[in-house]
Amino acid sequence: MTDLAATDPLPKPKRDLAPILLPVALALLMIPLIGSTSSWLTLTAASLAMGMMIFIMASGLTLVFGLMDVLNFGHGAFIAVGAYVATLVLAPFAASIQADLLWMNLAVLAPAALLSMAVSGALGLVVERVLILPVYGQHLKQILMTTGGLIVAEQTLYALWGPQIIPMPLPASLRGSFILGDVAIARYRVLAMLIGLTVFIAIQLVLNRTKLGLLIRAGVENREMVEALGYRIRRLFLGVFMTGSALAGLGGVMWALYREQVHASMSDDLTVLIFIVVIIGGLGSIGGCFIGAILVAMVANYGGFLVPKLALVSNILLMVAILMWRPRGLYAVTSR
């Protein structure tokens, strides 16, 4: 144990760069395999956009688990709820959606997304109080309770909106692509990337630059210690849970626009994808979740291009490979 003089700078935390390099390496590795640079660029842009959307949906789940050791199997329900709520705004204003004016489209899209976030966030409050609060610290019951919640939420959506698929057309100004030489990048993907990056940076800033973030990170590492220092970690957790639910709702709107349709079963497929991302990233790690989301999207896009049959199985292979390398995910945050 060496003593540090008061004037010495604090030792710098060790930076772990290997996981960050992983998606970059994967992308570069794909250039010769795919052959044409233009399709490679299109695919890379597609994977980044898809990755950002998955990240938005998964970020809440990973924080909730990291902070409170709660595994929410019903997280997918918030995604579906977000998407359905958006139709409430988008359907009556279909005319302004079809107008080829960016500001007019965004003037409808933004309130729709905000309403979705508000509703799924409020639903998060209810779910946390009713379903999760009674079963803190009991993994088995948490899984059962939240799965039950997922069933009820899905069925309620069917009861309210009917079992049919609801179309959700993209706004006119977001259709089509930006053409740069012989590379085509869909406009909506650029928007998705921008929103995703904004959310990622915002989360990172809150976590790393504010007192709230300090408490959250401290809570992830050692909940009892934070409690012992007099902070009400339950309330903190409720805030994180609601934020995570709201982000899932936002992700749901974005995903529904990406697929141009809404259906309650979307939560099932996405739940699987999100779980894979969260496991790959390391439960509780936002950075790992971000990299994991991009990796999963890359594997889905490149894999879908090179070996279409393997699209979903390839995610499992990716997960196995990463867990062989780092058994607790890319960044292991919690000691659990």
């Binding site: 059962l144 039950g148 309620t156 739940t271 779980f275």
Partner: protein
């Protein structure tokens, strides 16, 4: 009580209930005429065994697996593909069994070794991911599995409905191949449930319960917990695959909707929790309640929805629509996890005060 492995129902009401269910199932071909009643009874038998095998995992080891329908599906598809490819003969049935069962066990071994190596909490998530990948795989390998349409096939001569074994003139009932198939399903399901009862009451089953209560302590006592968990996983997968075989034989069909879909997984979860986790008997009760509700509650709800519709109530017709029956069972599921986590069986045992626990040996 050798046949029950020294683990009787331990409640007079529960015993009565079980006897009634089992007698009713056994006598269905004679008591309730018509194809629907027989179908419901066969489904209850198959699901009772399937849910009991899931109970071995959920109730006795405390690990949540979402891959149970995968094993069920492997059994179904193995027999369906064999009978479809080789024609309706007993060699095909045997081929389906000797390929399906080992395949399910091997896959369970692989999943167990891989996900139990990492961390217990990952198990549920990894099984969910693997199961959904398997589902996609099954629908994409359409040359083998028939894709979304599944595979319909013919049964061997003996088991066909047209085969009359004992004609009507003898007892007043016709015993045909269909009824023989039903009793095959009934008997094998009953045997599997009794075998599971044997497993959970063996020293091995006690170790599983020890792991459920405190894995760290079980490990400290010198039990190789990963070995025990993986073994339990394989056993459960074998029973699930056998249940899948029975299901395919009964339906003469295997497809994604009847044997692989995620909704079946949720159904199993509902049945085991409502019936009572960690009791095995709960599987029989849960499967009976659930499948009866699935088949008869819907028509009841249809009547209620119509009445609500005519009364001009808002929202209620949608909520009471026959297709929304799962909503109500989902609410029942949450309530039962919350208020009586031991399910119907646990409740009945508690109400009986555990009387007669030792007297029946």
């Amino acid at each position: 009580m050798m046949i029950l492995s020294g683990d009787p129902p331990r409640s007079r009401v529960l015993s009565l209930l079980l006897v009634v269910i089992i007698l009713a199932l056994a006598a269905t071909p004679f008591l309730f005429p018509g194809a629907k009643a027989l179908n419901v009874a066969a489904k209850i038998c198959v699901f009772a065994a399937l849910v009991a095998s899931y109970d071995l995992l959920l109730g006795y080891t405390g690990s949540v697996s979402f891959a149970h329908t995968m094993f069920y599906g492997i059994g179904s598809y193995a027999i369906a593909i064999a009978l479809y490819g080789m024609g309706p003969n007993w060699a095909a049935v045997a081929t389906g069994i000797v390929t399906g069962l080992p395949l399910a066990a091997l896959l369970a071994l692989a999943i167990g070794l891989f996900s139990l190596r990492v961390a217990a909490i990952f198990f549920a998530m990894i099984t969910l991911a693997v199961a959904s990948a398997f589902q996609v795989l099954a629908s994409q390998l359409s040359w083998l599995t028939g894709g979304e349409d599944g595979r319909s096939f013919q049964l061997p001569e003996l088991l066909r409905p047209g085969t009359v074994l004992i004609s009507k003139s003898l007892f007043g009932f016709e015993i045909n191949g269909r009824i023989l198939t039903f009793y095959l399903v009934f008997a094998i399901s009953a045997l599997m449930i009794l075998a599971l009862l044997r497993v959970v009451n063996s020293p091995f089953g006690r170790v599983l319960q020890a792991i459920r209560e405190n894995r760290f302590r079980a490990e400290a006592l010198g039990f190789r917990t990963v070995f025990h968990l993986t073994y339990a996983n394989c056993l459960a997968a074998l029973v699930a695959a056998s249940a899948g075989i029975l299901n395919a034989l009964w339906l003469r069909y295997a497809g994604p909707d009847t044997s692989l879909s995620f909704s079946i997984m949720l159904d199993i979860l509902l049945m085991v929790v409502i019936g009572g986790m960690g009791t095995i008997y709960g599987a029989i009760i849960g499967a009976t309640i659930f499948i009866l509700a699935q088949n008869y509650l819907q028509s009841l709800m249809g009547v209620a929805a119509k009445a609500a519709d005519e009364a001009g109530l808002p929202l209620l017709p949608g909520l009471l629509h026959p297709d929304r029956w799962l909503l109500w069972l989902g609410l029942l599921f949450i309530a039962s996890v919350y208020f009586f986590p031991t399910g119907v069986v646990g409740r009945l045992r508690k109400a009986g005060g555990g009387k007669g626990a030792g007297s029946s040996h």
